[in-house]
């Protein structure tokens, strides 16, 4: 494999390293504070470590996918996947003083995906969006799905001005090259987005800019399982 072919992976690894600096720093300083002040809780340290491990796992899953010819897809319920992800991300959102909500407009048939990869993608995306919103002084992040003419659009949404199609395009082009690839996303929040993108691309559902009610964010269009629709 040439150096050129390695480049996107190296960039993703660099972005991951940047994003992981924050939880490691948080753990180091919180531990230092706890050594001085015994009333400091270690709960948030555990949560920070857990979330960082999940991000690394998602990254590894993304790497494994790239070595495989095609993923074996199975019917997956979008609604229950989003609920599961929200359940796991809620303590992290609270740590950032954000409210995480799930918004499902209607009932959906299962989509063709790989459950573990889909969940890992939305965990990584949610992680990044929570961190991006945290600095913005916004109060909530939405895990949401709605139907479109092309399939079921499922994504993570936040404040309307955090991200735009142009910003995302530039971020995609710049990620790993510039320290801060987009004004709405600092260097510490981009890795999760691109890990999610690589996982979703392996299921032919790359991330795109999307809107849900008055919020904007990143979402993938997932294909409903036609077979199960007939049952």
């Amino acid at each position: 494999m040439s150096a050129f072919e390695y480049e996107p992976q190296e960039r993703l690894l660099k972005a991951l390293a940047e994003q992981l600096k924050i939880p490691l720093l948080q753990i180091a300083r919180q531990s230092e504070l706890a050594a001085i002040d015994p009333s400091v809780s270690f709960r948030s340290v555990g949560l920070t470590a857990d979330m960082a491990i999940r991000l690394i796992d998602s990254y590894i899953l993304g790497l494994q996918v790239q070595g495989q010819p095609a993923l074996e897809l199975e019917p997956v319920s979008v609604a229950s996947m989003l609920q599961d992800v929200a359940h796991q991300l809620t303590p992290f959102a609270k740590q950032h003083e954000l409210t995480l909500e799930v918004s499902l407009s209607g009932r959906y048939e299962p989509v063709m995906a790989q459950k573990a990869h889909l969940e890992a993608a939305y965990m990584a995306l949610g992680h990044s969006m929570i961190e991006a919103q945290s600095g913005e002084g916004q109060s909530n992040v939405l895990l949401a799905a709605h139907r479109s003419a092309y399939g079921i659009v499922a994504g993570v949404f936040g404040a309307s001005d955090t991200i735009s199609a142009d910003v995302y395009r530039r971020a995609r082009a710049l990620y790993g090259r510039a320290r801060q690839s987009a004004p709405g996303m600092s260097a510490q929040t981009t890795a999760g987005v691109f890990i999610a993108d690589s996982l979703l691309q392996s299921m032919q559902a790359p991330l795109r800019i999307a809107h849900h009610h008055k919020m904007s964010g990143l979402a993938a269009t997932l294909q409903p399982s036609n077979q199960l629709q007939l049952i």
Binding site: K21, L25, R29, L33, Q95, G135, E136, M185
Partner: protein
């Protein structure tokens, strides 16, 4: 002493603010460059601890805007940032012109070093509980075995 902490990451901001409060500092936290201007206006800080890497307007933009107001030209600013010194793109002269009192690379700066830096810049007399710093310093050294 009033400290304005400009830190976009909430959990980190809480940790640093908690530490500075144990030293008797009054800490205001701003999570963006825009809100930092408003907070500075209301709280009139004695010193600012600034992360340069923020969404939207970055810390350098904040620095130029902040220094453009005559009443804020003398407030010392500590750069406490994730950006390594060699990637700062600000030379020594620019740092001096912007009134940067110290640069600290955040990943390797302990709470003790941050406190010591603030103490050296503002002077011990401005810290309400300087004894707390010394007590914590001794305690932490004991815990780390140094």
């Amino acid at each position: 002493m009033k400290v304005l902490l400009i830190e976009p990451h909430r959990p980190l901001a809480q940790t640093y603010a908690a530490w500075l409060r144990t030293l008797g500092c009054q800490v205001s936290v701003a999570k963006s460059a825009q809100s930092a201007i408003h907070v500075a206006d209301e709280d009139v800080p004695d010193i600012i601890v600034l992360e340069l890497q923020m969404a939207k307007h970055n810390g350098v933009e904040f620095l130029y805007e902040f220094r453009s107001y005559s009443e804020w030209r003398e407030v010392p600013i500590v750069l406490h940032t994730m950006i390594p010194a060699d990637s700062l793109h600000l030379n020594e002269q620019q740092l001096r012109l912007l009134g940067i009192a110290a640069y600290l690379y955040k990943p390797t700066t302990t709470l003790m070093v941050l406190a010591r830096t603030i103490k050296e810049i503002v002077g011990e007399e401005k810290i309400e509980n300087p004894d707390n710093y010394d007590r914590h310093h001794t305690l932490a050294q004991g815990l780390s075995g140094s």
